[in-house]
Every structure is written in structure tokens, then in C-alpha cells.
Amino acid sequence: MPVSLPQIDDMPGAVPEDWEAIGAAIGRYVRGRTRRSDLVEEVVQETLSRLVEQSRQKTLVSIYALGFRIAANLLVDHHRRDRRYLNGPEMEQVSEAPLPDRIIAGRQELSVLIDALAAMPPLRREVVVRRRLRGESCAAIARDLELSLKAVEKHITRGLADLHRAMAASDN
């Protein structure tokens, strides 16, 4: 009678990772943040290879959360390197604007977002500004504005959905 042995490689109960789906999601995120197609491929590959490596070393709590975080950090690194390259060593600086090819697309997006923020209920806008711009915790915002934690989270998620809807509408 054949005895089935547990496979040593696999964690019991672990689902094999769908790397293609992870790569596609990360790719979509990176494309949303830069117009440089060469960079997209590079960041996705680097993110996936780091994820594979890390998932070999230990069980990851959330492969998606880690993947998005790695990609975000890689984008910051690239951004910084590009800026240094574009401006030369002693020309530190200029504007806070991102990469040059992002600027024109960015301007239109900027006015869409500003309009969407203006259209928001003031309390919601205040919560979003405090959270995203000033980095205040949800708990601190709840305390300052005398709201429940749930209400703060609702304002953030609805606010983000509002902004997303405005962006999607402007694309059509």
C-alpha cells in the first residue's frame, strides 16, 4: 500500500504562489507611477526575484503586501538615481517635479485631483490631508476631529475612491 509522504518543499496548507498574477499586479502599480516603460519591466523583475528569494527563506505573511512595498522602494531608488544622472553631480536639485516625461501628464492629473478634492465634503478632505500629506495616524485624526476610528477609515477609503473615480472619468 503506497504511503503518501508530505512533501518537504511545501508548507502544509500553503497555496503555490501565482507569480504571473503577482507580476501583473505589481506591473500595473509601477505603470501607474512612472511613464518609463523600460523602468516598469526592470522594477517588476527585481521585485519578483526579491519576493522569490524571501519566500524561500521564510513564510511570508503577505506576499502581495511585501511585493508592493518592494516595488515602491525600488521606484524611489530609481527616481533618485535618475535625478542625479539627469542633473549631473553639482546640479543638485531643481523642482520637486518627478521625471520630465511625467510632467505634462502630471499637470492634467493634478488639476483633476485638485478639483476632486475641492468637491469633497470638507471633513473628508481634512481627513485625507492629515493622513496622506501630514502622515498623522488614524487614531490621532480621530482624536483631533472627535470622530470614531471607523469614521476616519471610512473617510479615507471613500476619499480615495472619490479621487480614483475622478481620474477614471477624466481618462474617458
Binding site: Y29, Y64, Q93, A97, V128, V129, T157, H164, M167
Partner: protein, 327 residues
């Protein structure tokens, strides 16, 4: 299609949850399960996460915040005190912010520096930037994980900003502002509606009243009066100088109102200096003055502009010399 708004709402909820300082393992597992369930989930999350992290959103919030602040100054005060109270929370949240994981977060509260007459101060900020503050000045500083803000309430300051490509440094002076990533520049708040800027290294973006926005490079000077920016001829500092004149006690006046020069001298004079005639305040002056030596400056302008200067016990009073027509 009918479920799309629901997917967007769920995705937004996940963006917010993953942005929290502490993420529970059960929450993480639920997130992976949600992402694995449907390609539309993954797409929506990727779009919303990209939007939430985008620089464009930071800029949009920045601008909408500016309008909120100008409409309700009281809210700003409340916000500052709130910041101080919530500093430990902020630090926790900031450490968790995905982009910023690798950063050290120094202090997040507003620091205010004030100097008295004749006493400048050299300050090293939490991010390693250096500031030299003139006498009789006030500067408040706030350093956040994604930006660095300084407000020059009064006086003059020379900034040598630590270069951080991803974290702009902004100096607000009245309605005008200077934005940089890392460079050396001087900001002189000559009056509530008048600010002069000079760049010593790198380049800065100079804006006034939201209307204008110009880039100043090394050696460039400009001043904003109300909402108008005017470029100025390069100063005597141009080549070889890496610091403004005033840090050595000098002021190069190029066609500035007398009141601006007097305000500079005032930084070094214990006795208040009063211009007795309002017409004098607007009188254009030019020249290089050693403002750290008030008596010497006053003597120089007395001859050049036909003034009478009286050293009273409580104040120094400046008036047109008697018998001089048209002054």
C-alpha cells in the same frame, strides 16, 4: 460592471489598512486571499495604491491644504498643538508608511527659533541642513517624512539644505515660497509683503502668491513684492562667495526702500530706530552698508541723503534735515 464600485471600495479599504503602523497577520492573510481571488481585485488595488502613493496626489493635497489654511488660520494653531500631542503616533505611522520604511524619522513637531537684536544663531536641523538666522528673526521648522517646511516669520536666514531627492524643502515667507531639494540660498523677509532670495549653490523654485513660479540658479537673485516676482542683477557675491554678505554683518542695498535698510540695521541696534517722515521710508537707497555697525550706517546715510539723526534715550530718530527742499 455593477460590482465595480464595490471592488473599488474594497481596494481602497485595503490601501488604507496596509498603510497602518501595525498589520495583523490575519489581516495580511485576508488581503492575499482577496487579491488572489480575482484579477479585477488586483487591478483595482494596483491602481488605487499607485494613486495613493503618487507625487501628483501629494501636490494636489498640498495645494488644497494651502487654501484650507488661508481660510481658517485658527485651524492651523489647533493642528500644530495636535501634532505635538500625536508625535509618537505620527512617528509610528510614518515608520510604517510603505515608501518610507528605510527612513529614520527625527522629530515631527514644529520647532520655533527666535533671535534677539544683534544676536544671530546657527542651527542644525534634524535632517542635517544648516541655517544661519539673522538677529531679530523668527523661523519655524517642521520636518515630515515626505517634506520639510520652514516658515520665516521675521528676519533673514541663510539655508544650506541637505540634499534629499525625494523630500523637498520649502521656505515660506509671507505670500512667497522657495522650494528646493538640496542647495544653499538666502531668504530675506524685508517686510510682510516683500521677500528677497539669492541662490549660492544649485537651484531653487521661487513662487509668490501662487501666481508666479520661477527657477533661480546659482548667482541669481530675485525679489517678490506682494504677488510679483522681479529678477535682479547678480549681486557682488557672484563668483567665489558661498555665503551672503549679511552673515558677516554687511548689506548690499540695490535700490531698496530706506525702511528695508533701517530694518537691517535694527537687527543690530538695541534702541529702536524710527523714521519720522513716512516719505523717508520709501526713499530708494543703494550702497554697501555694514549693518552690524548701526552708528556707521546712520552716519553714512545722513550725509548721502541729507538726514538729521537724533540719538534720544529711548530711540534713534531719523528725519529730513531742516531746510532741504523736496525731501
Amino acid at each position: 460592471m455593477t460590482r465595480d464600485p464595490q471592488i473599488a471600495a474594497d481596494a481602497a479599504m485595503w490601501v488604507n489598512r496596509l498603510d497602518q503602523p501595525v498589520i495583523d497577520t490575519s489581516v495580511s492573510a485576508a488581503f492575499d486571499a482577496w487579491m488572489a481571488a480575482d484579477a479585477r481585485h488586483r487591478e483595482k488595488f494596483a491602481d488605487l495604491q499607485a494613486l495613493w502613493h503618487s507625487d501628483t496626489l501629494t501636490q494636489a493635497l498640498d495645494q488644497s491644504e494651502a487654501t484650507v489654511v488661508s481660510n481658517a488660520p485658527v485651524a492651523v494653531v489647533a493642528h500644530f498643538s495636535g501634532l505635538r500631542r500625536s508625535a509618537p503616533w505620527l512617528a509610528a505611522a510614518a515608520c510604517a508608511a510603505m515608501l518610507m520604511l528605510f527612513l529614520l524619522v527625527p522629530g515631527l513637531q514644529v520647532e520655533t527659533y527666535r533671535t534677539g537684536t544683534g544676536n544671530g544663531q546657527a542651527i542644525v536641523l534634524a535632517d542635517g541642513s544648516h541655517v544661519e538666522l539673522s538677529g531679530d528673526a523668527e523661523l519655524s521648522i517642521r520636518i515630515l517624512p515626505w517634506r520639510r517646511d520652514a516658515t520665516l516669520v521675521r528676519g533673514e536666514a541663510f539655508f544650506d539644505v541637505a540634499h534629499e531627492g525625494w523630500r523637498p524643502f520649502r521656505v515660506q515667507s509671507g505670500a512667497s515660497s522657495v522650494r528646493v531639494l538640496g542647495t544653499a540660498f538666502n531668504v530675506d523677509r524685508q517686510s510682510p509683503t516683500r521677500t528677497a532670495v539669492e541662490v549660492y549653490r544649485g537651484a531653487v523654485t521661487f513662487a509668490a502668491g501662487g501666481a508666479e513660479n520661477i527657477v533661480l540658479r546659482k548667482g541669481d537673485r530675485a525679489r517678490a513684492v506682494d504677488d510679483r516676482i522681479a529678477a535682479q542683477a547678480p549681486g557682488p557675491n557672484a563668483p567665489g562667495h558661498d555665503k551672503p554678505d549679511w552673515t558677516a554683518g554687511w548689506f548690499e542695498a540695490a535700490d531698496v526702500p530706506m525702511s528695508v535698510l533701517i530694518a537691517k540695521v535694527q537687527r543690530y541696534s538695541v534702541r529702536p530706530i524710527r523714521l519720522r517722515d513716512p516719505g523717508l521710508a520709501a526713499l530708494p537707497v543703494s550702497g554697501r552698508f555694514q549693518v552690524s555697525n548701526p552708528a556707521r550706517v546712520l552716519k553714512a546715510i545722513r550725509g548721502a541723503y541729507a538726514l538729521e539723526i537724533r540719538y534720544d534715550r529711548d530711540a534713534i530718530r531719523i528725519a529730513p534735515a531742516p531746510g532741504v527742499p523736496g525731501s
